[in-house]
Amino acid sequence: MSRSKRQVWLTFIALGAMLALLPFVVDFGLGRYWVRIMDLALLYVMLALGLNIVVGYAGLLDLGYIAFYAVGAYCYALLSSPQFGLHLPFWAVLPIGAAVAGLFGILLGAPTLRLRGDYLAIVTLGFGEIIRIFLNNLNAPVNITNGPQGINQIDPVSLLGMSLGKTHQLFGITLSAPHQYYYLFLLLTLLVVFVSMRLQDSRIGRAWAAIREDEVAAEAMGINVRNIKLLAFAMGATFGGLAGGLFAGFQGFISPESFNLMESIMILCMIVLGGMGNIPGVILGALLLTILPEALRYTGDLQRAWLGHVVVDPSDLRMLLFGMALILVMLFRPAGLLPSRQRKRELVAEGDVAVQEQANVYDTRR
């Protein structure tokens, strides 16, 4: 690679400008509603990158990941809403939510340390549901979470005395609430991407990969498997908690319903579809799986326009197409749309056999 530094910087600047202008283009072309969808998509990118640390890097199949999203969201909601009359500032609440989620990551990770593969998946699935059911039932005898009704009137995110829930004029540009959230989420997403990248290419990242490849060998090579696994759970959960806190401030209302098993599976699908362990792949997966289902809503209008009435309900069609897309991807790109180099090699067998054969021939000649 002999790309000059200047070219790299120019690419960065162009990309930055594109990301900065994107909400205006989308607002102009598709409407405000789509800017909101972009905000949600960014939250899912953060979630998927968090789960990617646990599943993609350390190879621990976690089916209850949404629990940490819930913990982050409820932390935010309880600390800045009329529920307890607390209105702590955003810069305090968000880190608290992320830290508490990280702590839950360790708490829920600890009992599962000895489990692998399917068994780990089943237990984490159970933990995810336990958290949701707790949130659903913690309204009696002492009302903490307000039960299935959820928590209302959560304070919108407020930065430098400026509430992101209202429209603002900045340098002659009108910024609506979704626009402002977009920029905040974008910044934090970039932070999560940065941390993910740095972690992947580090001593810790190698230790995660080693555990994923062979736990016994990793232990025999001096890796404290318990601590390194818990670290993966904690890091993943922290990102989940971060996204959860942002979600609560963004929506202004949360209820246990938003944190069901389907969401966990959806996030896992994003990773698998996009390319496990590969950051661009995970981002692509998260964006596709948030934007496509929304886009498919329009098929209802299309059917009405072309056929005069709705033949297939758009929501049914969504699930159908979604399932088909997953099957097609798994058939034709089993390692995901943008697989990591490693994962691609794991799943492609023909090349391996050839290389191995050649090495053996070379060996006998020597």
């Binding site: 580090s202 190698r206 990969a209 080693a210 232990e219 001096g222």
Partner: protein, 256 residues
């Protein structure tokens, strides 16, 4: 000769099976000790106990006069006992270089914060890890394959890579579990030289499990023989070769 490892009356039971029965053995500093015995004699079990993968049912293990009973594998490694595996256990989908770099884990310190900030100390440490890994690959004679995935290496090179990875942990004792299994005579010979270099150049104490009697007789100063979980003989190759119980174990009961 100074004693490095002392196994005292080690027994290991799996349910009703006595894999090891009261095995007592000393390993001296700087020796190449061979461990032989028929299949199922308990050789690998002994290695697993030595490296902390199993806890013995009874008995005691000391390393430099400190008991290492109940230690986890990563703690044992930190003391200075590294190993390879009978059925190669490399990190198959990582490159050869990365495999060796993982071996440096126990001797380096960068955590999450160091990884994220990538400060001067972390960068220096990463560079040192890389340099050491390259050096070890070269030492093992597979420097040209650093960028290949471990699973793409030939069988002999995988064995060598496993030794390089174990060496990356800065061990004092290296336990090799059937390092010559599946090798052709040429590869065996280079392996024999490699093991001799481990001791002569790096000053390591080497434990070898091996089925190839010729290899082990020419390589080891001392040999211990296990049969049905019992230590039936130990001594120089000549002593072991003429031991009645050893001959009986290898050739069958009536041959003694």
């Amino acid at each position: 000769m100074t004693e490095l490892i002392r196994l005292e009356q080690i027994s290991k039971n799996f349910g009703g099976i006595h894999a090891l029965k009261n095995v007592s053995l000393q390993v001296h500093q700087g020796e190449i000790l061979g461990l032989i015995g028929p299949n199922g004699a308990g050789k690998t079990t002994l290695f697993n106990i030595l490296t902390g993968l199993y806890t013995p049912s009874s008995g005691n293990i000391e390393f430099k006069c400190c008991s290492m009973l109940g230690m986890k594998p990563h703690q044992v490694l930190k003391l200075g006992i590294a190993r390879t595996f009978q059925n190669i256990r490399l990190f198959a989908n990582m490159t050869a270089l990365e495999n060796v770099m993982v071996g440096r884990h126990a001797r380096t310190h960068a955590g999450v914060i160091g990884a994220v900030l990538r400060n001067a100390a972390t960068r220096a440490e990463e560079a040192a890890i890389g340099a050491r890994a390259h050096q070890l690959l070269e030492w093992a004679g597979i420097a040209g394959h650093g960028h290949l995935l471990a699973k793409h290496l030939s069988y002999g090179d995988q064995r060598r890579l496993e030794i390089a990875r174990a060496l990356a942990t800065d061990p004092q004792v290296l336990a090799l579990d059937e390092p010559a299994a599946g090798m052709n005579p040429v590869e065996r010979d280079t392996l024999r030289q490699l093991i001799c270099r481990l001791r002569d150049q790096l000053g390591l104490t080497v434990l070898v499990i091996e089925h190839d009697v010729k290899l082990i007789m020419s390589l080891c100063e001392r040999i211990a023989v296990l049969d049905f979980g019992e230590l039936i003989a130990q001594g120089t190759p000549d002593e072991v070769r003429s031991d009645k119980r050893v001959i009986a174990a290898y050739l069958g009961g009536g041959a003694g």
